[in-house]
């Protein structure tokens, strides 16, 4: 058997496509040795921590949203939560429910975008969704339906799909009328068959066979699958409070990335759908557990490509939990949606599970409510090191199996894509 490791390989993917933001993959193999294998982040920094400085804390959700066009609802809600914890505000229950429903809409739209538009082309061997429009129109139709629902849910609950204006420190600017909530529930129910079809499509795809033992970090749910606030947990047995996020992330700088890297018990850890799934499996909606069992996704999975499958399972979870929550909301009194509060000096951390993993915002405010210090730790920033280390195991394995350069390049890109990285967000 010829060992392909003896052939020189020189891969340089500049600005990998079908991910958010700008990152490069560099792989070199010479004389049978790995000479280079890097996940390089070249996104230009925006310096959000500085942009927050001097602004009123009330502005935090609006500005935080602009960290990321895809997960702006998560950023706005995390900033609102940090502000509310700094000011000891108890957010009314109706507002909490609407926020979670809006977050579910974002999770659905983000996961569907990733699975259908960014990941599916790899499995159909095309460069983008554009040729799929004519080759497999039904696939695009399914994505269109599900995202259409998610977009309209965001419009109704958050004000719009990107950069919501409804989430205010203390609650919401308004609540939808009952009739609007009923229409949304109807629309959700009409879309469940499309969810079933989406499951059928992804069930048929076989994910690349690869494993690397990984530490998974996420929120820990109490009695429901976690999205907004709570304890921080790692699959290596660490558990901390929300305020201790810095000890959970340990950010540091590296030369190959304008994003900071993170670590905990090992060289790197992973956050995102698979981390949430692994750490909170038993709290998933029964329908989601049913799917997980059917596709053989078990808690404790260490194959990073299974991020895709965990996202699919989460789509099912958020759709069914939204259905239950909408039904509940329609039957409840929704008149209280804003807490009154007084501004004072304080400090607060908000932790939240954004579509791509656990997200933290932290503000210190003075007695006039001006932000004097801000800090943001982004999910993809926590994943970069893990992506890098995964590549170091994946590439030599593929080379040893005799894969050609084009295949190694494709698989490396698929690996990066599986994490659904949001690079400009990670650099912020």
């Amino acid at each position: 058997m010829t060992n392909i490791l003896e052939k020189p390989i020189d891969i340089h993917v500049e600005h990998i496509a079908r991910v958010e933001g700008h990152g490069n993959i560099k792989i070199g193999i010479e004389d049978g040795k790995l000479t280079e294998c890097t996940w390089e982040v070249v996104e230009t920094p925006r310096f959000f921590e500085m942009m927050f400085k001097g602004l009123s804390i009330e502005m935090a959700p609006l500005l935080a949203a602009r960290v990321c066009g895809i997960c702006s609802i998560s950023h706005a809600l995390t900033a609102a939560r940090a502000a509310e914890r700094a000011l000891n505000i108890q957010v009314p229950e109706t507002a909490q429910k609407i926020r979670l429903l809006a977050k579910h809409a974002e999770t659905l739209q983000s996961h569907v975008l990733h699975l259908f538009f960014l990941v599916a082309p790899d499995f159909l061997n095309v460069g983008s969704v554009i040729p799929i429009l004519s080759s497999h129109p039904h696939i695009v139709q399914i994505a269109t339906q599900l995202k259409g629902y998610a977009n309209r849910a965001s419009d109704l609950l958050a004000g719009r799909t990107s950069h919501p204006m409804v989430f205010k420190v203390g609650g919401l600017t308004q609540v939808p009328r009952k009739r609007q909530l009923k229409n949304l529930l109807n629309e959700l129910e009409e879309n469940i068959p499309y969810l079933e079809q989406a499951i059928e499509i992804f069930k048929g795809l076989s994910m690349p066979d690869f494993e690397r033992e990984t530490e998974f970090v996420s929120l820990k749910g109490q009695d429901r699958y976690p999205f907004i606030g709570g304890d921080l947990v790692s699959s290596d047995g660490i558990r901390m409070g929300e305020d201790e996020y810095q000890a959970m992330t340990n950010e540091y700088m590296v030369d190959i990335s304008t994003s900071k890297w993170c670590k905990l018990s090992r060289d790197s850890f992973a956050v995102g759908a698979l981390a949430r799934f692994n750490n909170n499996y038993e709290l998933l909606h029964p329908k989601a557990i049913e799917l997980a069992e059917e596709i053989g996704l078990k808690p404790g999975s260490h194959n990073p490509f299974f991020h895709n499958l965990a996202q699919l399972v989460e789509c099912v979870h958020v759709v069914y939990e939204s259905k239950d929550m909408l039904t509940e909301l329609i039957d409840s009194d929704t008149s209280a949606f804003m807490a009154s509060y007084e501004v004072h000096a304080g400090e607060g951390v908000g932790a939240l599970e954004a579509p791509r993993g656990i997200l933290y915002h932290h503000f210190q405010i003075d007695d006039e409510g001006k932000i004097v210090k801000a800090n943001c730790v982004i999910p993809t920033g926590q994943n970069h090191a893990n992506i890098h280390h995964d590549l170091h195991k994946l590439v030599p394995e593929l080379a040893a199996q005799g894969e050609i350069e084009a295949e190694i390049s494709k698989r490396a890109q698929m690996l990066v894509r599986a994490y659904d990285p949001c690079i400009s967000c990670s650099v912020h």
Binding site: H22, L133, M253
Partner: protein, 257 residues
Amino acid sequence: MKYLGIPLEKPKVAFFGFTGCEGCQLQIANKEETLADLLGAVEVMSFRLISSDKDDGYDIAFVEGSITTEGEVERLKKIRAQAKILVAIGACACLGGVNNLRSRFPLDETIQEVYGNHVIESGPVRKLSEVVTVDYELPGCPISKAEFEWLVRHVIVGVIPQLPQYPVCVECKQRIKTCVFDMGIMCMGPVTRAGCNAICPSNHMGCWGCRGAVDEANFESFIEILRERGFAEREIAERANFFNAFSGVDVIPQLEG
């Protein structure tokens, strides 16, 4: 594709992102209902957010984000040299957008705050028109998909797209919404260019001016009214400077660090 029976060539378009959140590009990818129509009207040569196919033979470039590094200046100039028409999309590209909030502080202090002594390349925040000639500007944070499609239709048939010449208030009143001023909320609607269907006031949030100043706005009397209504200088400064929409208007209070 035909227009009035005359066959038209599909324009070759490309999308590029600089310093921003990619929210504007996402709006374009996001409304799948009309994606097929759009793709029927244009040929997408390069759109890295959704496609790994790329081709530099484009005629129209849609550019998102602000320019903050020398590398970005070079990349933008190359795009300008290739494109027959360059369209700035979104507040970051048209105005500097929220990125400009950091311009209140010196660059070295800014880098130090986020990266400590680690070496990071950055520079002042520039809107596209400070670096290259921009043919059209599509405002908003984010842009609206409907307006993007409207602009594309104009460009295809070679008609100059004219943005609304009236303020957000006009659209707001068409939607018969309660003026947020009556709820004690400040709103930049009277001095901001319409086209967003007054989406923020419709959601009980005052306008922040993401679409830029409307022509011939009377800032002097507007700011006077804000003061009479009891809004504090800092509140006015925060709202009016959030997207850098009214830079150069000297009656607007400066936002301090």
